[in-house]
Assembly symmetry: C2
């Protein structure tokens, strides 16, 4: 049972050259330079407020009326909410369900534009690099450039992510 | 009304040299080199699963039994959950309630150690730099090094954060 309210996945917008479905990908399936687009997730006002009350209770995230008097001119999503929505798309569509071993971190996380109630977000991921680990021949490192776009195709957030993945064939 | 389950703030552990309470701080109140400690938030298994089912449904975040057979040896929190819990402590104790204007992003976000059910997290923040903006004399940039520690005083996550803040006195 979950206490979270549901969020709507409006439709699935995929534009990806992966030959293997997400639940069966290994490091070899991520081709450097390839660009993949997936989506979408829509963001409701109630979701924004609910997340922010728990994790980021600043008035421009929690109180629509007060938010309208800030520099943002209205309610905007917590950046950590946007990052979490990104992760949902990333796990559903891009990151292997069988080979993912976790992540040591991300770099250059940027909140470029506000995310507002009613926005519909999609994911664009560029495979930057794959590198096998010499110390552990069954796995390697995947580096990805991640962008979240709104319904107007404007990038609202970006980051570079590192993930450890198993290889299909040990070197 | 919120659909999130409540989380327990077990006790407030403060070790901070701020002379002004969080709801009344301006850029001038953040002294470069000063180190501030605040806490705590405890992490329940049900919270980990609830967050991950919504935002990061990988089995080592959602299914305790399956997680015990992974490299982590048991359930661990999504890194985005840990980041969101960090933000709650950051907003409650460190970031000005009156002068905060939002953040353009963070750098070098690192998940150093797993966060597990029953862990109790606290926040350590080092003021790295404050810089007034020449273009807008009423505000400036605060750069902070943020660490989240568990109950054994081990750093589980760290990052560098940038925040825009109003100044008490325009330059």
């Amino acid at each position: 049972m979950t206490h979270f309210s549901s969020f709507a996945i409006v439709f699935t917008m995929n534009n990806s050259s992966f030959k293997v479905p997400v639940e069966n990908r290994y490091l070899e399936d991520y081709e450097p330079g390839s660009v993949h687009e997936f989506g979408t997730i829509s963001v409701k006002e109630s979701d924004i407020i609910e997340f922010a009350r728990r994790f980021d209770p600043q008035i421009f995230h929690t109180v629509p009326q007060a938010a309208s008097h800030t520099m943002y001119g209205g309610l905007i999503a917590s950046g950590w909410h946007t990052a979490s929505l990104m992760m949902r798309l990333f796990v559903d569509h891009y990151l292997s369900g069988i080979a993912s071993l976790g992540s040591p971190g991300v770099d250059e996380l940027r909140w470029k534009k506000p995310v507002r109630p009613g926005d519909t977000l999609s994911l664009r991921v560029t495979v930057m690099e794959t590198k096998r680990l010499r110390s552990k021949p069954d796995r390697g490192v995947l580096t990805s450039f991640i962008e979240i776009l709104n319904q107007n195709h404007i990038v609202v957030m970006s980051m570079k992510a590192v993930n450890f993945l198993l290889c299909r064939q040990a070197s």
